[in-house]
Amino acid sequence: MSIKSPAGCFFLDSNILIPEILTQNNVRIWKLKRDATSHNIPCYFSDSVKIETERKVRDTTDFIGSTIKDTLVMQLEDSRRKRRISLSDPLTIQDIKALEDLFYGFHGAARAQRTLTDPLSLIEEWVISFLAEKLDKGISITIPDLGRELVKSVLKLTVNIQDSYDNLVTFEKGFVKKKGIPADPRMVKTVANLELLGIHAPDSDHVASAVMNQILSSEKTVFVSLDFSTILNKRDIIRINFRLECCDPLYAFHHLS
């Protein structure tokens, strides 16, 4: 006897699309895809999710770019000027130490302002490892060479990310399809109510799209997210107020059963 596939659909958050674009092996998302495929459950993303996904990729690209150009390269040049060493001389261990001072300064300032140090630490790990590897191998590299090599590495990656993004989001060649929600005054009201519950834009737009889909199409909709800090921690209150299930991809299928 065959098992009847449950009726309904999934609305996905940007944090489900991004690992797919980056081809990360996420077990939770892998299970969601397997469930959706084997039971013919449609997976959708809203306009707001598309915009957020694109923005996150762009902002990350720009952050890495500006850190390389406006922080690393400039700091290395300043340090060289202070030490009266030619800018065109190959980089040495002294330059790594100059970068160490730079990052200590940033970490200290971040701690004082109680802001995240993670973004810069990640770039610090990458750049210092990259430079140390070159020096270990005895490869001569100047400041402009270092900047160019780092930027090339990022551009090579982001061009491939664009291909992956277009396949999944722009041309919808993967397991997800875009679903637009027709203009409806109830959408504005839902967004406002979500804001009152402490769910702010763009998350409120994503959740409201799923709520409206459930109302307009009369099909059970599950909003799937990996965001525990702003959406999944409010899943009970969302269910009570909007009759919408929000869950981790691991459990999405079981909310339709």
Binding site: N15, I18, P19, I21, L22, T23, Q24, K56, V57, R58, D59, T60, T61, D62, F63, I64, G65, S66, T67, K69, D70, T71, V73, F106, T115, L116, D118, P119, L120, L122, I123, E125, W126, S129, F130, P144, G147, R148, L150, V151, K152, S153, V154, L155, K156, L157, T158, V159, N160, I161, Q162, D163, S164, D166, N167, T170, F171, K173, S229
Partner: protein, 305 residues
């Protein structure tokens, strides 16, 4: 691809060259008597000729720059027609210097070496050369980023064009391979001409689409270039690209139009090859991939220095 660079590499990249080599041609057939071991044989030779009044490479390039400079705001210190002349002459000079590419075009038209599939050889030549130059284009954009205050995502969008062009050449290769094979298997010259004509019908719209994308790509780069120098002599390589020197509304409009055409082109190529653009980010080969993956998942607003 770097704008207006003087390297010969840029020519092999030009859509104009492909149009010139593949569409501005017609097949001809003639018989030749040869003598082998004292016996006379008649050999049928088929090759391509340009049309009686062909569009020259120079015509196509000049037309392209007229379209570019006729559709963007020109600074007071430059004259539109002089810009067309300056840019066209540079492009033509590069083409003239590029012996290898000129030879490839001539080979299609004369086929002196009796290559079995001259059109396919021509496309493969363009493809191989483009692929061998793609790292240079990446390097030029990286270098330009370091000499500008544009965000890195802008350069990413420019390089997406390179990726798109690479897919275009792959699609073109398959179409030309198919039709030229059919043409070679033809029973007679009429059938041969028919298959070549069908090939031109098939590739014409794609070349048109890529040409349109080329035009918007050059329009964007040329717009940024002319507002970042005051000297005709420095048009090929301004010292610094300053985004503040641009009219933001005009720049946004030109960038949006480029992006729209780019997406249309990618969509067209995807319809012709459903495996196009499947090039996933390589986590192992590219170490920046690991940090990108972590940064992109951080909360909004944390990506500030």
């Amino acid at each position: 691809m770097a704008f207006g660079n003087v390297s010969s590499a840029s020519i092999g990249y030009s859509g104009s060259s492909l149009r010139y080599g593949l569409l501005e041609i017609k097949p001809v057939e003639f018989k030749e008597t040869i003598k082998k071991a004292g016996i006379k044989f008649q050999r049928v030779i088929r090759r391509f000729e340009t049309f009686q009044q062909p569009q020259t490479y120079s015509d196509i390039v000049t037309f392209q720059y007229e379209a570019v400079f006729g559709s963007i705001k020109i600074p007071d210190w430059f004259d539109s027609s002089k810009l067309v002349k300056e840019f066209s002459q540079r492009s033509i000079a590069n083409y003239e210097k590029d012996i290898e590419f000129k030879k490839a075009v001539e080979e299609v038209q004369n086929n002196k070496n009796q290559i079995a599939r001259p059109l396919l050889s021509f496309v493969q030549f363009a493809k191989t050369r483009f692929e061998s130059d793609i790292d240079n284009y990446l390097e030029e954009e990286a270098d330009r980023f370091l000499r500008s205050n544009f965000p890195l995502s802008f350069y990413n969008k420019l390089l997406v064009f390179d990726n798109t062009y690479r897919e275009f050449l792959a699609v073109l290769e398959e179409i030309v391979r198919k039709y030229e094979f059919r043409a070679r298997c033809s029973r007679n010259f009429e059938m041969y001409k028919k298959h070549i004509s069908e090939m031109k019908w098939a590739i014409g719209p794609i070349i048109d689409q890529v040409d349109s994308c080329f035009l918007h790509y050059f329009r964007l780069k040329d717009y940024v270039t002319i507002w970042n120098t005051t000297d005709y002599a420095k048009l090929s390589n301004p010292e610094f690209w300053d985004i503040k020197k641009l009219d933001s509304d005009e720049f946004d409009k030109i960038f949006k139009e480029y992006n729209n055409t780019l997406m249309e082109t990618r969509s067209t190529l995807l319809q012709l090859n459903e495996n196009a653009f499947i090039r996933a980010p390589d986590v192992i080969e590219n170490p920046s991939s690991a940090i990108f993956s972590k940064l992109v998942t951080l909360p909004s607003g944390s990506l500030t220095l």
